[in-house]
Each structure stands twice: as C-alpha cells, then as structure tokens.
Symmetry: C2
C-alpha cells in the first residue's frame, strides 16, 4: 500500500496515543477484582449540575429545532443562531466589536487548530513556515496537527525553581524572536499540562512577534476565559489583527459532542471556513442549537460561576494538599504553579527519575499517569532542558477523589522505592 507524505505523517500515532491505548487496553483486560486508578485522563470531571444543564438544553433543542437543525445541511461557518450568539456573547463579556465574518464554528476546536496548521504551515509559503509553540512544554495534541513531518517545534521554556516546592516555566522571547521559520504560533492558556496562565505583558510580547512577522498567533482558551473559566484571575482573550482565539465546549461539559469555535480577523477566518466546507462540511447542528441557547440565556455563565470554576478551585486545593501530605519529603519533587486548567504538573528533580520507568512501575501498582516527555517538542532535552523533559508527569485533578487519594499514595510509594535504588520488581502480568 502506498501512502502519500501526508498519509505517512498523519498515520503515525503520537507517543501520547500509545500511552492512552496502553491505558485503555490494560484497564479493559484487567482481571476481576483488579482495579486501576486512572489519574491520566483528559476528560473533564463529571459535575452533575453541568451535565444536567446540558441535558436540559439538548432536550429543548431537540423539541424545538430538530427539523431545522438535524434534518438539513447547515452553513459551514456555523449555524446562524450559534454564530450570532457567539458575536453577542463575546461583545458583552469582552467588549469585542465583531461580526459573523469573524467567527467559524468547527467540529471541535482541535479540528480548527488542525485547519489553521494545515493552512498556515508547510510547503508552498514563500518562506519556511512551521508550527511554533512559543513555550514547550504545551498540549501534546499540537504535535499531531501538521500535515508534514518535522513541522512542529517549540521554544524551550526557561526553568525557574521556587524557594518552596514550586517551579514555573518562563517564556524565552529572545529565542522566539531569533526563529526564522514562523508560520503559526500556538499555545494553550491556562496551559495543558502545566496550568500556567499567560500574563498581559507576555501576551503583548507574543502579539508583537506575530505582528512583526505577520503570522497568526492561535490562543487556545480551552480551559480559560470566559468559559469554562478554570483558573484564578486568568487573562481575558485579546482581539488583534494577528490573533485567532479558539474556544471549546469540551471542558465546559460537552467533550463528546465536538463543538468549538475560532474568532479572529476575517483574513484568517474566511479561508478556514472554506477549508471546513471542503473537508467536513460543517459542525453538528443540534448541539450548536443547544450551545447558542447556553450562551444567550446566561446558562453558560451560571455554570461557570456556580459549578465549574468553584469545583476545580476546590479540587486543586484538595489535590495539592494530598500531594504535600503524601509525597516523600526527602525527594526533590516540585509542582508547577497551577493557575488554572485540569492538571497538576510535577517535576521530580532527581537524577534517578525517568518518566517512562516511573509510568511502568506505577502501572504495576495499578495507577496511571501521563509521562511528561510527550508534552515537550524536543523530549531529548537537547535544546537545553537536559533530563528535565524526562522528569515530569501529568496528574489529572478531574479523576474521582478516592482514586486521587489512593493513587497519590501509591505514587508516593513508587517514588520512595525508586529513590532507594529502583522500583518494585515487575509482577508476572506486566505486559509492556
């Protein structure tokens, strides 16, 4: 069989996907009574009032809009109702003076990121145009977006250790400005995996770089403002002639339904609508109707302020308390300052630590986390990180509390064993 260059690239599963498949396969094949604690999940937490609101809105859409929405093809830009609701919602919440031509609704925001990567990076542009992540580590899914291999690179963050157990990444703007291959800049804020939120001054600098090269800066607000608002004092999205802001309903309760939208200048949005028309036609419509009502009626804002934001704020406190209470005091472990998002990002700042060895040892204890290396565009650390890119792991704070408590206990035990010369020997049923 013959695959094209694009085919070969897009057929290659990412490193993270192998991990996710390993988790799925292992848990599915678990012996009766054997229980795996999955702290690696990317799903948002199941918050009953959030699910109930969406169920009610979907039922209402089904009752009133089904014939118009589901039984007809729709516009590639998005349904008139949702596009209009987005325009009004962002006008009210962010003061943006935009119109329908600034909006495109997609079958998930990942598809919109994919479209942007396909259109703004790769061969055919008059100069080298890659997908550049201004800060690495960032969301691992960005690495699978480009149609050609080797087109996603990141600028390694500077590492700043806190005096306590905290650490933070800082942008290396000088390194970013030295890059001559910018086609598209992309980042998540608050970040998956680190929880880091952009500051206004940082956004100024990123916009300055994008504008000086006249390339788009795609800001992925998946966890941020104005919804789902998982974070404290997160920076509101900014309008600019070089900025595409992406929003998704996934972390606001509807990950399975694949609704996201991008907002930006018409010169970026118009070609994205054409790409969508040529590839997927349009996003699914019944959920567009439900989302339009959620934005227009205030239901979304109520979910954010009464359910989603408080849930994760409280949850982060609890999980951090567990970590500080349970992880071995004698080990130099550090937690990235978590200003938002759904994850704790841990760095075991010890020469004996390796994220994949840890993953396997922890798996034998019935716990899954996500090894950190997949979030770095250069996991070899050749760019300067050295071992750091193999010394991190991601823990989801949206797992259930009992699993988190039990799982963090087992993480502590494995870390303790590793620090004393090695993990517990493999059990018989180890498969990887």
């Amino acid at each position: 069989m013959i695959l094209s260059g694009v085919g070969t690239k897009m057929a290659s599963p990412s490193g993270l996907r192998s991990i996710m498949e390993d988790i799925a396969t292992t848990t599915a094949a678990a012996a009766p009574g054997e229980r795996f604690l999955n702290l690696g999940i990317g799903n948002p937490a199941y918050i009953p009032e959030v699910a109930e609101t969406w169920r009610r809105l979907t039922a209402a859409a089904l009752a009133t809009d089904f014939g118009e929405a589901s039984c007809r093809y729709g516009p590639s830009r998005g349904s008139r109702e949702l596009v209009g609701a987005v325009v009004r919602y962002l006008g009210e919440h962010l003061g943006w003076d935009i119109g329908p031509r600034n909006v495109v609704v997609g079958p998930g925001s990942q598809m919109l990121c994919f479209i942007a990567a396909a259109m703004f990076t790769g061969a055919g542009a008059p100069r080298p145009a890659g997908l550049v992540l201004p800060m690495s580590p960032d969301y691992t899914g960005y690495q699978g977006l480009t149609l050609a291999a080797g087109q996603v690179t990141g600028v390694e963050a500077a590492l700043r250790r806190g005096t306590d157990r905290s650490f933070t990444y800082e942008f290396d703007f000088d390194a970013l400005r030295r890059r001559t291959d910018l086609g598209l800049l992309m980042l998540s804020t608050p970040s998956n995996p680190t929880g880091r939120s952009l500051t206004a001054a940082e956004l100024d600098q990123l916009i300055d770089v994008a504008a000086s090269r006249d390339v788009p800066l795609l800001v992925d607000n998946a966890y941020g403002e104005p919804f789902p608002g998982i974070g404290e004092d997160a920076l509101p999205p900014r309008r600019h002639d070089n900025v595409i802001n992406c929003f998704t309903l996934s972390k606001a309760g509807l990950p399975g339904e694949r609704i996201g939208f991008a907002v930006g200048p018409e010169r970026y949005i118009a070609p994205m609508v054409s790409f969508l028309a040529n590839s997927a036609l349009h996003a699914p419509q019944l959920m567009q109707a439900a989302v339009a009502v959620a934005l227009s009626s205030g239901a979304m804002d109520e979910l954010v302020s009464t359910a989603i934001r408080p849930f994760y704020a409280q949850r982060r406190k609890v999980v951090e308390k567990m970590l500080f209470g349970k992880l071995p005091a004698g080990i130099d472990w550090r937690l990235h300052a978590g200003q938002g998002g759904m994850f704790c990002w841990l760095w075991i700042d010890q020469p004996w630590f390796d994220d994949l060895v840890f993953y396997e040892a922890l798996k034998r204890e019935g716990v899954f986390v996500v090894p950190g290396r997949h979030f770095f565009t250069d996991p070899t650390g050749a760019g300067g990180f050295g071992r750091h890119a193999r010394q991190c792991f991601r823990l989801s704070i949206s797992a259930d509390l009992a699993a988190l408590s039990d799982g963090i206990g087992r993480i502590a035990r494995v870390l303790d064993e590793m620090s004393h010369g090695g993990p517990a020997p493999a059990r018989t049923r180890e498969t990887v």
Copy 2:
C-alpha cells in the same frame, strides 16, 4: 498574509460553492412577496416519519446515554456501540465477516473522503498518485478534497443516447487503465448527480483496476444500499481488499448531524483512524448512540422500506411525469436514466444551450437549479465531451411538489425562450 500551498488550495471555494452562496444570498435578499423556487438543493426531503423516528431515537439516547456519550471524550474509531452495531448490521445485511478494526466512524462521510484523499493522493508517494474519478461527471464535492491543486481528475464517460429522451453515461475502462497516476479511485453509486447505479460487472472492472495497481477504490454509498436505499435494484456494496465503502446517515435523515462511516481492510482503515485522532479527535457521540440503536433495532430498515425508498420512488415518477408533460417537445432535451439518488440530471442537447446562461435566466424567473459544469472535472470539454459539459443541469427531486411543478413550468418557458434566440431580458433587480 501567507498561506501554505495546502492553505491556498483549501481556501479556494469551488464553483459550486459560489452557486450555492448565490442561491443563499439571493433568496435571503428577496423582496417581500418575491418567492424563489429552489430546485437546486442538496438536502434530502423532509419526510415526517423519518424525522420523527430520529427525534425519538435521539431523545432515548439523551435519556440513557448522555453522561457516558456527551460528557466524555470517545474513541477515534467511533463509539464501541456504533462500531459494534455496524459490524453486526453489515454482517446480517451483506454477509460480511468483518470486525471493529474494519470500521471507522467519522464526523460525516465527506470528512472520511477528505481523509482518504489526503492519505492516498499527493506528493510523497513513490509514483504519481492523484484522486481519479473513474467516471466524470460525479459529485462535485470530490473536487475539493485534495490538499494540492490539480490532483483531482476524472475519466470522461462515454455518452450513449437512448432512442427516446433518455441518455446514459458509460465507463471508459480503457482510458482508466491507461492512467498512470492512480492514487485513489472514488465514485458515488447511485450517482450524484446522474442517478446512475453501478452494475456488478462494472464493479468487477473497477476492482480489477484498483487491485492491479494496489490502490484503494472508495465507493460512496450515500444514496445506496443498505440504507438509505434510494434506488431500484441497486447493487449491494462489495467487500474487497482494495475497497473502502463509505456510508452516511445524511440521506437517511440526519444531514445536519454529520455521521458517516467507512468500512474496509484494516490496512486502509487503521491509518484513517490515526488521521482522525490527530485532526478531529472523533465524531460526535450522542448521535452515534442514536444511530447504533437505529441499526440494531431494525428502525433503520423500517425507515428505508416503509418511508425513504417508497418516497423517492414515487417522487421520481411524479417529477419525470412533470418533465415529460411540461418541457418543450420541440427541444432535444434528455434525462439521464435515473436508477436512484435524489436528482434528475438533464441534458439539453442543443448548440444554443449554455448551463450558466440558463442558470441566470432561470434565476430571473425565480427558480434555482445547479448548472451542470461543476460536476465535470474537465468542464471545458477538452477531453472529448465538447459542449456537453456545459449543457447539463441538476434538478433536486426532494424539493416540495408545488415548487417542482411551478419550477418545471418556468424551466420549460425559459428553454422555449432560449430556443427562440435568447432568454427573456433581465429584470431590473438582477444582481449577478
């Protein structure tokens, strides 16, 4: 702004899309009392019992599966329930011995066609690999699928005039066998726009070509068997190591919800699943749950046999009767033998006829049809068709009956005027 080669290609709206936008813009800007008859629509007819069944199945999915389906990410291959239902359904209906690894569910079958085109055509393969339509004309959307320009070509059909007002296209297999640039073969059956259905002998020959070059043949069963079954004695899809069969729920009543699936050998399906994981993650899940029940419970089969198939069979008879009753007897107009699908494909076999001139003249009479040239990969007719590629138009039989009756009357009047030296002079409010 800088677009990549892919960006430039995918940003270009197709000729058909300009027509569709013209229709949308014109009807939206219609003066009060001005009524446009749209016989150009690609939507399936609104059949109340079909809509009611889907509404009921969606409500049931909402009641039982919402938390699991909508509030969690799903597998890129498709939900376990739908993939399993597809395997069982095709096993029962077609006798296929397949498993989950032979199935991928996508956010619409157009996206699956796009993925196949991206993976099996274009640069990077060891030999030229284009998207070749074994018969042109075919679905105009195929022309927008490839990431690079100039990658979609068709083999011009041979024209066979019937003794009555019928005509049919025939495959030119010799020309197809001479092609050295096959990367992917794609066709619809029954065809959009012509209504032509593949015969078993023709499918044998197409498979023979695909197998001898070891390239995939993608058969798009959008209107065919086993659902929606719009056609008489249509050939059932065939399993083969070089065949990808695509199926969609769009013409079975859910065009707005974007659910389709592809079935084929694992060597084709596995990379398509990876592409989907990297681009759109997965198809929307609540509707996957509803579709799984429709396939498993017999509801889909009941819709096909009691509602969809009889509706279109009856409708085609009525529309053909209108055409024969109203179109001018003195003009050599011909209707493609319509074995299935949702359209009448007309050929005005007269030197004075031009599809775009006709489109404009008809628009001034308040009627829309789709000019035929957009369905030909070589609308210049340079390949041998000559003027034929500009002498056809597509009429949707799913428009409402009053619109069809009135519209066909106006079509007859415009044809009569054109045959006598020109269309009626443009009215004042003409805008194109």
